[in-house]
Symmetry: C2
Subunit: 375 residues, 2 copies
């Protein structure tokens, strides 16, 4: 079991990663709560519900199901789940356990932070994306028709419990979707994590718990380091947005229906690498020529491509993407704050990039051949 | 101009009360914001919009209207207003000014605290209820079908600006509705405020700015004192719930349609005085007999009755009220935390009061003749 500590302005909480992590719920002493609710999706609950109840010893908890998929990240679902809590007699001393992927964590985090102005919650992420990224940092949100993640709060969980065993039942596509966030963390981190991921990518399969545990810890540490320094995205936390500016535009342009969040981040990482290269930010390693096979831009793209096949972006026009870029919530006063990789392990926040450059980068990406993938 | 300071865990902010208070918005330097939005209702805006824009110098602000009435306190309205903000390009550096009564403050506070995970807001309350109570303390919420104020946050405004001039356009009924909260504060406060209110009640009319300013300050101070000691209702803040346990049940029992919030608090104060008297909590002043004309119970009831006529509760059965009591959100683990007056200036939190006693108190109240009122 690996244990990390988030120490943020809004509260401290532990992040536990490893086989048996759910047992830590026993330490929370659920008897101190007036009632316990578990928010989850039917698919994951069918697979893991019994084991979760056994490990966590939450046999008397009431289970609330949410339809799977991004469309559940809505204020309508906040209303529905809160109403279920109210009708079931949940009060301020109730505990809400979020057992699921990013959607459950985001929706449930907002419910927990607003139900009776805030009740305790525990994140038990069941997807790679959740375990490595979205469950950590206390951010939650739901979508508006006008854009993704526009309504939410900062609200720390009491603890984050990530058992990678649960990943074995993930579909390959959902699993890969999470790997793109791991790649993002590897680009942000110093060289060791990138190389580690580069070498072990093929072994990272849903059922390979050992390989997963080896990567999860260092990847989670990247996120925790950033969050501990800047919980509220005043500055540093913006770097976690790497690949998300294009990514969110892609999700919006396709009505949140064609791409999983991680897949759109995958495309976003590819696009930002192209943009960074075209604008001269992503420099070649010192001492190499422009013909060097392994420029950082290429290493980034190679790693993203190696994760697996991505749904095509052929029909998503550059014009549409560019039109949807400014709606990204990292925008301040109409500016987009681009997170631009300068090399592996170093990004820079850049404003004022011309829309024409972003459009060109997307077009260039659309015309790049997607290499034959490992899967 | 009277100035008070709220010093709470979530942030400090000034409360300014008096003619010309809106001018303080100029000190916020709205030029530091990327954009300014004003959330309001058409009725109040028609009367005061021009003067507000002139005083505040917010000529370039965009005005967003919300339908008047309690039904606007919904997650559907949070979604609508947030979508308007998003489509108008509001970002994290936008300012939301809440110009209206309790509904605008409650709805707008939740919007401000969740839009892009929190933008600045200023409370400019335009009702007596808003100026004396709901705009102060950082609490906001919307209703669920299952109960009132079940979804919300604690979120401090940047400032609260209460100009009593605006009260002159209030309908007598809306104005009186706010007076019940003033009465509540007077019951909580030490004797001077109660006596002051007792003596000046007849002069407290929408257009009598001088009388209003004399009462507003001391009444607001009661609330600020409590909030400064206990922002998150861990304990002390519960006393502000005086009259609200019955009051919320009455609102719920009548579908939030028949009683203004303050009116239900008026009935709630009457009911809790009856209950406190019947259970022996509301004691007679030392040295008086049970036949004393001016027991505190009677003084409380007299003051509430003198505010004016209340819509009848004849058709709201005690059984229905009692059934809706436990849904009050101050409930922890199924218990109701009753705020029981022991005398004017002193309340006690009591749990475990039998439902039969609450039912009897309501029935007793229903049978009391409502005295001929001053209006």
């Amino acid at each position: 079991m690996q244990c990390f500590q988030v120490t943020a302005e809004s509260g401290n909480y532990p992040v536990l990663i490893g086989h048996g992590a759910w047992r830590e719920l026993r330490s929370l002493n659920p008897q101190g709560y007036s009632s316990v609710f578990i928010l989850t999706e039917k698919g994951i609950w069918r697979h893991w519900g019994d084991r979760f109840l056994r490990d966590s010893a939450l046999r008397s908890a009431r289970v609330i199901f949410v339809p799977s998929g991004e469309k559940s990240k809505s204020l309508a679902q906040v209303e529905r789940v809160s109403s279920v809590l109210a009708r079931a007699g949940a009060d301020r001393k109730s505990l809400l356990v979020l057992f699921g992927g990013g959607v459950i964590g985001d929706l449930g985090g907002l419910v927990a932070s607003t139900y009776m102005r805030g009740i305790d919650c525990v994140q038990a992420p069941t997807t790679l994306l959740g375990q490595v990224d979205s469950s950590i940092g206390g951010k939650n949100a739901v979508n508006l028709p006008a854009g993704k993640n526009l309504v939410g709060t900062f609200y720390p969980p009491r603890m984050v419990l990530a058992d990678p065993t649960v990943l074995s039942s993930l579909s390959p596509r959902i699993f890969r979707s999470g790997l793109y966030e791991v790649v993002k963390h590897a680009i942000l981190a110093a060289q060791p994590l990138f190389d580690l991921l580069d070498h072990h990518l093929d072994a990272l399969q849903p059922g390979n718990r050992k390989a997963l545990e080896a990567i999860l810890g260092p990847a989670v540490e990247v996120k925790i380091d950033v969050v501990n320094q800047d919980e509220r995205e005043a500055n540093l936390r913006q770097v976690l947005n790497l690949g998300h500016t294009f990514g969110h535009a892609l999700e919006a342009a396709t009505g949140y229906r064609c791409f999983l969040h991680g897949e759109s981040v995958g495309w976003g990482l590819l696009a930002i690498a192209v943009l960074a290269e075209q604008l001269g930010y992503l420099k070649l390693p010192a001492g190499t020529t422009s013909k060097a096979r392994d420029s950082d831009a290429e290493r980034i793209r190679d790693l993203v491509w190696r994760v697996g096949p991505l749904p095509s972006i052929r029909d998503v026009s550059a014009r549409k993407i560019v039109k949807l870029l400014p709606r990204d919530k990292k925008t301040v006063g109409g500016e987009i704050h681009w997170v631009i990789p300068e090399r592996i392990g170093k990004v820079r926040i850049v404003t004022g990039i011309p829309m024409a450059a972003a459009e060109l980068a997307w077009r260039t990406l659309q015309q790049m051949p997607q290499p034959a993938s490992r899967i």
